[in-house]
């Protein structure tokens, strides 16, 4: 019998991975221990991996397979948040864990991996299908790609794919350079650029919310929406990543990738079908429609901030420049806020305010759609008391974390004899309507890459469009000597950020 599996039952069965192998470069790193292996164990626990599924880990440190398995076992025990650890399941999974140490610039490293892959294909029936996962430092990406190409591992009996973690370059030209190098070895449909924000259930739910319902889309345009605010706030500081972070900053680390992807999901046109390229085409078109600021417009539309030392809740917190590994005069933006405009018919004139920062008042990621005021208030005209909240517009909040859900704020009459209005909120909480466990973003994204679904992965045209959107800001900020620090830990960022919105008659919503 050829063709599709007749035992499939898509209504009842979860998506499963077909026979294949995974090669992780940077297997001794945090991402592998904290996210990748625990996510794979979870998939094994749920019987979503094929019987002979295999993982080859690579890093410079030499160690036997058994030591690698023990390390991964410990990591899985420690970082599997909600999955029972069953020895027999781990033992089966661990039989497919292999380790090949080697220098990423040494062809012998790839020869050893190639040899191991052939053995896996023969003994564990991987069908020659291989996913390469670049979990190394970004500076090693091109070495790995070249190494794979040089050893001919980009081709084989089955499919070959490569997952690239962000950052995809540190500016537009380096992103293009990286892409050129990748495309010398892999074709675009074999490249999976991971943005784990797109794997979050609630980000995916934006698509369901917008395109699965008939009542919102007619309002989803400049005629009804006044502005959109996207916030990704963290209450913590750089937590030991100071050396990396001082070279990146909030604009590069969050806005250029995660938040512009979220913005694209909120603002894109409906795809004709829910298929990988159809969805990605619409996202790409939206990102390509973001107006690129002229240098003289940057100051009015972008605000950089850096946190200083502060006492929060009885604890004295270091400022960014006092963090370990950070230069005392670092000019890094630990906070960035930008006003973007989308040059198309749907969104012309509607500002998209995006902010992200560290050591802010709380950890929250959400999207607030601010609707226009009612065109005429009969309560004001009749001399009635509209109340303190009388002029507040409707607000739709799409909460991404920590408490995923959707709220709609509207005005209601306060009980009593007068006509006093007050805002009330209609809440949908993802966790209380769907109590079932949401898969971790890396589970979703790994299964997608292993099954060839690129919907939630970014594409080079999207990467370039988002770099284009932030490049003038990066250029201006690089040339500026900021008077940092300019906000205290536990606040909502620098005052200039609020002023940026006030100039258009708006203000930041407090999440």
């Amino acid at each position: 019998m050829t063709g599709s599996n007749p035992f499939q039952d898509p209504i009842r069965f979860q998506r499963r991975v077909r026979p294949c192998a995974l090669v992780i470069f940077g297997a001794n790193g945090d991402l592998t221990k904290r996210k990748l292996i625990p996510a794979l164990y979870r998939l094994a626990f749920e019987r979503r991996l094929p019987p002979g599924f295999s993982v080859i880990g690579n890093s410079r440190t030499a160690m036997p397979h058994e030591t690698f398995r023990e390390k991964m076992k410990e990591a899985t025990r420690q970082f599997s948040e909600d999955t029972e650890f069953v020895d027999s399941i781990w033992d089966d999974f661990a039989q497919g864990l292999f380790y090949e140490s080697g220098d990423l610039r040494d062809p012998a490293c790839y020869a050893a991996i190639g040899h191991r892959l052939s053995e896996i294909e023969r003994t564990r029936h991987s069908g020659g299908n291989v996913l390469f996962y670049l979990s190394t430092q970004p500076s090693h990406y091109t070495a790995v790609i070249d190494g794979l190409g040089g050893a001919g591992l980009h081709q084989g009996n089955g499919w070959r794919r490569v997952v690239v973690e962000k950052p995809f370059g540190h500016d537009l030209s380096s992103a293009r350079e990286l892409d050129d190098r990748i495309h010398q070895v892999f074709s675009e449909d074999e490249v999976y650029r991971i943005d784990h924000y797109l794997g979050k259930e609630t980000v995916q739910n934006i698509l369901a919310f917008r395109f699965g319902n008939g009542i919102f889309e007619p309002l989803w345009n400049r005629g009804y929406i006044s502005n959109v605010q996207i916030t990704a706030a963290e209450s913590i500081g750089v937590e030991g990543r100071g050396a990396y972070y001082q070279e990146a900053g909030a604009l590069r680390d969050m806005i250029q990738n995660h938040l512009l992807q979220i913005m694209a999901t909120v603002a894109m046109e409906p795809p004709a079908v829910f298929e990988s390229n159809a969805v990605r085409n619409e996202r790409a078109k939206l990102l390509g429609s973001i107006r690129v600021l002229r240098p003289e417009e940057v100051a009015a539309n972008a605000v950089a901030g850096q946190y200083g030392p502060a006492g929060v809740g009885g604890q004295q917190l270091a400022g960014f420049r006092q963090e370990e590994g950070v230069r005392p005069q670092a000019n890094t933006d630990t906070y960035a806020a930008v006003t973007f405009f989308v040059d198309n018919w749907r969104w012309a004139g509607v500002p998209f305010y995006i902010r992200s920062g560290k050591r802010l008042a709380k950890r929250v990621t959400d999207i607030a759609i601010h609707f226009n005021d009612a065109p005429h208030s009969p309560f004001d005209a009749a001399g009635m008391d509209p109340g303190a909240f009388g002029s507040r517009p409707n607000l739709l909040i799409l909460r991404v974390q920590p408490e995923e859900g959707i709220s709609l704020r509207f005005l209601s009459k306060q009980p009593g004899s007068g006509m006093t209005l007050r805002p009330v909120s209609m809440d949908f909480k993802y966790g209380s309507s769907f109590g079932v466990r949401s898969p971790a973003a890396y589970e979703t994204l790994l299964v997608d890459a292993l099954t060839g679904d690129a919907t939630l992965y970014t594409r080079q045209d999207m990467v370039e469009a988002s770099w284009r959107a932030v490049t003038p800001i990066l250029d201006a900020w690089t040339a500026t000597k900021f008077d940092f620090p300019n906000y205290t830990a536990g606040s909502w960022g620098p005052a200039a950020s609020e002023a940026m919105l006030n100039r258009r008659g708006h203000s930041w919503r407090t999440p």
């Binding site: 007749p6 094929p50 019987p51 033992d91």
Partner: protein, 325 residues
């Protein structure tokens, strides 16, 4: 809350009062969130407390207005009702989430009065599912109007020896917008998933034409319903008959599936599940282990309530199953 003579509007008013009092109790926190995505009616002959724990867990996955109908002994034609809430505080949150629960107690003499009450109590615009733990209520003609309100009827054929009679009963309850689910089928999901996973391998899939025998081993005093459903599933999936062999594999307090083996040219596959739920899956030279989770009522219902629409595979299996009874 004291039991009261039954009228839908009165019960709904009591529910309103319940929400007000719950809100007052939670004034110091962020209040109470009412969650409801369907009406779930539970028909039972036992004390309603027996299903309380299952329902308490279930509403976290499928928030519902719960209506527990308890059939009591006696000949009192009156109905008694009380309302309560199933509440829980999600970890790390300050707001309780609550679902409404209405418990109605009646005797066989009062069955006729039940349908109009239920009609007034179902949550508007949302699906209705009925979980039958009472054979009397599943078969009673007076209860037919309630059954017809449901989008989904859920029964459990576990422990039933008269497989043909049970299949006739289940098939007779399908019709119109009403679909029937059998938890005996739900228990087979991990088995079926394991078989399907084996044939994800294109090399094995290519050998599927050689499959000529399915050996189904069971434990217990009689064949479980799984021994009808599985052969029907193979027949449906393959689109052709395949040899079926049933094998008794020892005693068990409750009839259960023990082992499934697929034989044929180039095929040697099996799934075995021990009493401790540990599973061993052999496909050629590869063996793997898994846990077929203990399938409590809660877990079975959790899966079934996710499938409120068409279930084409089970519907086809239900049509073919009587052949194997």
């Amino acid at each position: 809350m004291a039991a009261a003579p039954i009228r839908p509007d009165r019960i709904l008013r009591e529910l309103d009062e319940l929400w007000v009092s719950l809100g007052k109790e939670q004034e110091s926190s962020d209040g109470v969130l009412r969650a409801c995505a369907m009406t779930l009616i539970v028909c039972t002959e036992e004390s309603a407390g027996d299903v309380g724990e299952t329902l308490g867990m279930l509403v976290r996955d499928h928030p519902a207005r719960l209506i527990v109908l308890r059939l009591a002994a006696g000949d009192d034609p009156g109905l008694k009702a009380r309302v309560l809430a199933q509440c829980w505080m999600p970890f790390g949150r300050r707001q309780q989430i609550c679902c409404e629960q209405i418990e109605i107690t009646m005797t066989a003499a009062g069955l006729e009065g039940v349908p109009p009450v239920i009609r007034g109590l179902t949550a508007p615009d949302l699906p209705v599912a009925i979980w039958f733990r009472s054979r009397t209520l599943l078969t009673s003609p007076e209860f037919e109007p309630v059954r017809k309100m449901a989008n989904k009827l859920i029964v459990d054929s576990a422990g039933i020896a008269d497989l043909k009679g049970q299949l006739d009963l289940i098939r007779g309850r399908c019709g119109g917008d009403t679909r029937v689910a059998d938890l005996a089928w739900t228990r087979l999901t991990p088995w079926r998933e394991s078989v399907a996973a084996i044939f994800d391998d294109p090399q094995r899939l290519a050998r599927l034409d050689g499959l000529n025998k399915v050996r189904i081993c069971y434990q217990g005093a009689h064949r479980p319903m799984a021994t009808c459903y599985l052969p029907a599933w193979f027949r449906h999936a393959l689109g052709r008959p395949v040899g079926i062999e049933f094998q008794y594999a020892g005693d068990s307090p409750r009839a259960r599936l023990y082992r499934l083996a697929l034989e044929g040219e180039g095929l040697d596959l099996s799934v075995t599940v021990e009493q401790n739920r540990r599973a061993e899956i052999h496909s050629g030279q590869l063996a793997s282990h898994s846990v077929f989770h203990s399938l409590s009522d809660y877990e079975l219902l959790r899966e079934e309530l996710m499938v409120l629409g068409h279930d084409p595979v089970f519907e086809a299996v239900l049509n073919l199953a009587p052949e194997f009874a």
